[in-house]
């Protein structure tokens, strides 16, 4: 069972997924503490914050890769404890992990459908629908602007950006209701980053909820509806798009005091 | 002495045993077979594997090679039955050696050369009685070899005292020695150690010294170290099944059969042992042991 349910336009109030005061510790390290976030259908939630702020940790909770330590996690308003990413996928939640979650030695198309393979036939004769998986993977990648010479190529031999594009194409394809992207644009060229941003907007327009983690306010601002700021595992604030400008967002992310340095630096090297 | 047919008939005899390469006992058997081959102008191939499935394969290979005779040791007769019978059916004469005396004729072998392990054990038990032993540790060095178990049960049959088995690994003599030491320490009433391999006899004497025990050591099989130890009175006696003859005789028999139609043995086994090497005859045996033929 993969992200099977057809997109369901968000019933106004109920968030597709919601975290209420969740926390998570690794041994004595508190990676996340009392953080709340909600993802509404047809909205993009941007998660921003410094390195080590806890973004990936929040993502791993939302995507079912890790259980939350404290707090509450709701899917469609129902308190849920996702025990595996598989379960998350069954709820129509798909994720691009920061480490991409690809298997380097496996071919591109096998990675694309990993865990949600298409099959034909029944019983002992049930087998992979290789032709279909290849053509879907190929089409989806082409759509991202990636032209691979060979889908049989082990994904580990792709360039960093190509690999990331495969992971994004995969999540966009399987995310029936919620797509979570952890720094998807980090390694991408200008063209590919543009395609990803457009994909995010398009998914939003189709009524999907999107969680978008990024360090880049200039990527976040154009697509985001809500901005969640994290710092040292704590929530620094949630802002609706109308409440904040891209400059303010940048300032908050950089930590107010360092703003002057930053502007000066930006001023010296305009790009 | 060359017979008229000797040099020109290109006989090949395959020896297939259950001994792992490097086992000093089987090395002497191999030497005996090779010497017979040289003496009689017959080419000899020698192979060994302790797993009956693999030993069967080796016999099958010899049959595929269309050799003129096969010598087989049968530590596990059931496991070799099909292959031995197939060889006989293919018209290749077979002589069995060492173990498997009881089934030899049934499988269609010409004769058997060896000792009965059980009888050898019984004689050993009597000798230990004579030496006044009351509690003996029987050291088994190959876990799957039923012949070794038979020796210990043979001893148990005639021995008046009590017997316990110790399991060691022939591939690690230093550790085997340690295990024997531990056994002696944990049961100080042990007054005799019986090893079933010449290499372990040396280790056992050392173990007795390490444990500060006054147990006597006896062993199966001979080597020049063992004869020295017997002369030194550190080993009581060695049971000698004369492995050299277990290699030499069957090759001779099979050659005679091929060249002269002789059916040696008359349907009965040929006993190569047990002989005993004691203080009385150790000096004579020592000379041969030095050459790797005893």
């Amino acid at each position: 069972m993969s992200g099977a349910t057809p997109p369901r336009p968000g019933s106004a109030g109920t968030p597709l997924i919601e975290a209420r005061g969740v926390g998570r510790s690794y041994g004595s390290i508190v990676a996340l503490h009392d953080v709340s976030a909600r993802v509404l259908a047809g909205e993009v939630l941007c998660v921003l914050g410094d390195n080590g702020a806890g973004k990936s940790t929040l993502i791993s909770i939302l995507s079912g890769a890790q259980p939350h330590g404290s707090g509450e996690f709701l899917v469609d308003g129902q308190p849920t404890r996702l025990s595996s990413p598989r379960e998350a996928r069954d709820h129509g939640i798909a994720t691009v992990y920061q480490d991409l979650a690809v298997v380097p030695l496996m071919s591109v198309w096998r990675n694309f459908f990993l865990g949600s393979e298409l099959t034909v036939g029944h019983g002992p004769l049930r087998r992979l629908d290789v032709a279909r998986m290849r053509s879907v993977a190929s089409a989806e990648l082409a759509r991202m602007g990636i032209q691979l010479r060979d889908l049989e190529q082990p994904i580990g031999t792709l360039s960093g950006g190509e690999r990331q594009s495969v992971a994004i194409a995969r999540a966009v394809y399987f995310g029936a209701r919620v797509v979570i992207l952890d720094e998807p644009t980090a390694a991408l060229g200008v063209k590919q980053a543009g395609i990803v941003l457009r994909d995010i907007a398009r998914a939003r327009d189709r009524g999907l909820g999107v969680v978008f983690v990024t360090h880049n306010p200039h990527h976040a601002y154009p697509v985001g509806d809500t901005f969640l700021l994290l710092g040292r595992g704590e929530m620094l604030g949630t802002y609706a798009r109308g409440e904040i400008t891209v400059e303010e967002l940048t300032r908050l992310m950089a930590g107010g005091s360092e703003l002057d340095d930053l502007t000066r630096e930006l001023g010296r090297h305009p790009s | 002495v060359t017979t008229e047919t000797g040099p020109s008939d290109n006989l090949t005899i395959a020896v297939v045993t259950h001994g792992t390469p490097g086992d000093s006992f089987w090395d002497v058997v191999k030497s005996g077979a090779e010497q017979a081959g040289e003496d009689l102008n017959v080419s000899i191939t020698y192979q060994g594997d302790g797993d009956p499935v693999k030993q069967s394969s080796l016999i099958d290979s010899a049959v595929a090679d269309k050799v003129d005779g096969i010598v087989v040791s049968m530590a596990n007769p059931d496991g070799l039955k099909d292959s031995v019978e197939a060889a006989v059916a293919a018209g290749i004469p077979v002589v069995t050696i060492n173990s498997g005396l009881e089934r030899s004729a049934e499988f269609g072998a010409l004769t058997h050369v060896g000792q009965s392990e059980f009888i050898a054990g019984q004689r050993t038990g009597e000798k230990l009685n004579d030496a006044g032993a009351t509690r003996v540790a029987c050291v088994i060095h190959e876990a799957g070899n039923s012949g070794l178990e038979e020796r210990c049960s043979g001893v148990a049959d005639t021995f008046n005292g009590t017997i316990s088995n110790v399991q060691v690994d022939i591939a690690n003599i230093a550790d085997a020695q340690n295990l024997i030491t531990s056994q002696l320490l944990s049961d100080p009433s042990i007054d005799a150690v019986l090893t079933l391999n010449s290499g372990l006899a040396t280790a056992a004497t050392q173990a007795v010294a390490d444990a500060g025990s006054d147990a006597r050591v006896a062993t199966f099989d001979v080597s020049s170290d063992v004869t020295d130890l017997i002369l030194d009175k550190k080993v009581l006696f060695a049971v000698d099944q004369q492995p050299y003859s277990q290699g030499y005789l069957p090759v001779t028999f099979l050659t005679l059969l091929n060249r002269n139609g002789d059916q040696v043995g008359g349907g009965q086994p040929v006993y190569s042992g047990p002989g005993f090497v004691t203080l009385d005859n150790a000096a004579e045996v020592a000379e041969f042991a030095q050459n790797g033929t005893r």
Partner: protein, 356 residues
């Protein structure tokens, strides 16, 4: 079947032009040359040509039958072990387990007069249970399977010896061929079929079947995909929803099942089992898999490669005998051949890999 996922992409009206990319961009011949087993195939051919030319018996019908048989017993296990290795784990108890299964049937039938088919079924159940225990131990403790299965290897080795002695009073099963139904079992597991003059033992057909099924599973089924993923990048696999733990446990059970099959093939072939049977073989299986191109680190390899690795091993073992080389040197020859085979394999794969 509620697998509507593709529908999503249909609704997703592509912004850019969808390029019509032909999925099979690679020429089929090139694809074959890239398979992991191509190097092993080259090495196997070399060994075959070598012994065919320097010995007379190797290519005779009887000779072929011998090395095919030898290879088949290694091969069945090597294929199962290869699946497990692709899945990222080892099973050092696999050799001892071939002994356990045979001993169990032997004890049940000769000592307790249990019906032979029932005994075989029980033995299979026990094997699968042992495999599941291995798998569960590995998955739940997170200890390396190398050390866990080494533990079970020692335990099985002890049990095989002690229990057999306890019940039969000896260290080998005797009188098996007199057991009711042994002959019918022998047809399935211990007989020969004449094929183009070569007397082929049934185990060879089992070997072929196991290799084919394993290849099918690996390359054409979901579990196959999961095996590669579980071994190649377990945490990524888990993140993508692959049931890694279940996959690994199943693989340990598969190895145990193969051990049962080999146990039966040996039992019905020589109608006896020794308490020490199979010990020391566990590494031969791993060697065959590695010679056949499996990575020790998991995630890469093939069933056909492992089968070829076993063929190389079996041909070498019997070929040395046919060549009548002094058996004191046996191991040295074997080692040199294996190193040679692995180097040929590496060379061929590097050449082809970089060319394609």
């Amino acid at each position: 079947m509620t697998r509507a996922a593709p529908a999503v992409s249909e609704t997703a009206a592509p912004l850019g032009p969808v390029a019509a990319v032909v999925p099979a961009a690679t020429h089929p011949f090139v694809a074959v040359l890239r398979r992991p087993e191509i190097g092993a195939l080259a090495a196997a051919l070399m060994i075959f040509v070598l012994f065919s030319s320097i010995t007379t018996a190797f290519l005779t019908p009887a000779g072929i039958g011998t090395w095919l048989y030898s290879s088949s017993l290694f091969g069945i296990m090597a294929v199962a072990v290869a699946l497990l290795m692709i899945g990222g784990e080892f099973d050092l108890s696999a050799g001892a387990m071939t002994g356990t299964t045979g001993l169990l049937v032997g004890v049940l039938t000769t000592q307790w007069q249990v019906n032979i088919w029932l005994a075989m079924a029980l033995s299979l159940a026990v094997a699968l249970g042992l495999g599941a225990i291995n798998g569960l131990l590995v998955v739940t403790t997170g200890l390396p399977s190398f050390i866990v299965t080494l533990g079970t290897f020692f335990i099985l080795q002890g049990i095989n010896l002690a229990v057999t002695k306890l019940i039969t009073g000896s260290v080998a099963i005797q009188g098996m061929s007199a057991v009711d139904g042994f002959d019918t079992g022998k047809i399935l597991f211990g007989s020969r079929v004449s094929l183009l003059g070569v007397e082929v033992k049934t185990s060879v057909f089992w070997w072929l079947a196991v290799t084919l099924i394993a290849t099918w599973v690996l390359l054409r089924t979901r579990p196959g995909n999961w095996i590669f993923a579980a071994g190649g990048a377990p945490s990524s696999a888990r993140q993508m929803g692959v049931p890694v733990a279940r996959t690994k446990i199943s693989l340990f059970m598969t190895t145990a099942g193969a051990a049962w099959l080999v146990g039966m093939l040996q039992l019905f072939d020589v109608s006896t089992v020794q308490a020490t049977s199979g010990i020391g073989q566990e590494f031969v299986y791993i060697i065959c898999a590695v010679v056949g191109g499996c990575l020790l680190t998991g995630g890469y390899g093939s069933a056909v490669g492992a089968a070829l690795g076993a063929l190389i091993y079996g041909m070498t073992l019997q070929g040395i005998v046919f060549a009548q080389w002094d058996n004191n040197w046996l191991k040295a020859f074997l080692g040199a051949m294996l190193l040679g085979a692995v180097l040929v394999n590496l060379y061929v794969r590097k050449r082809l890999g970089s060319r394609s």
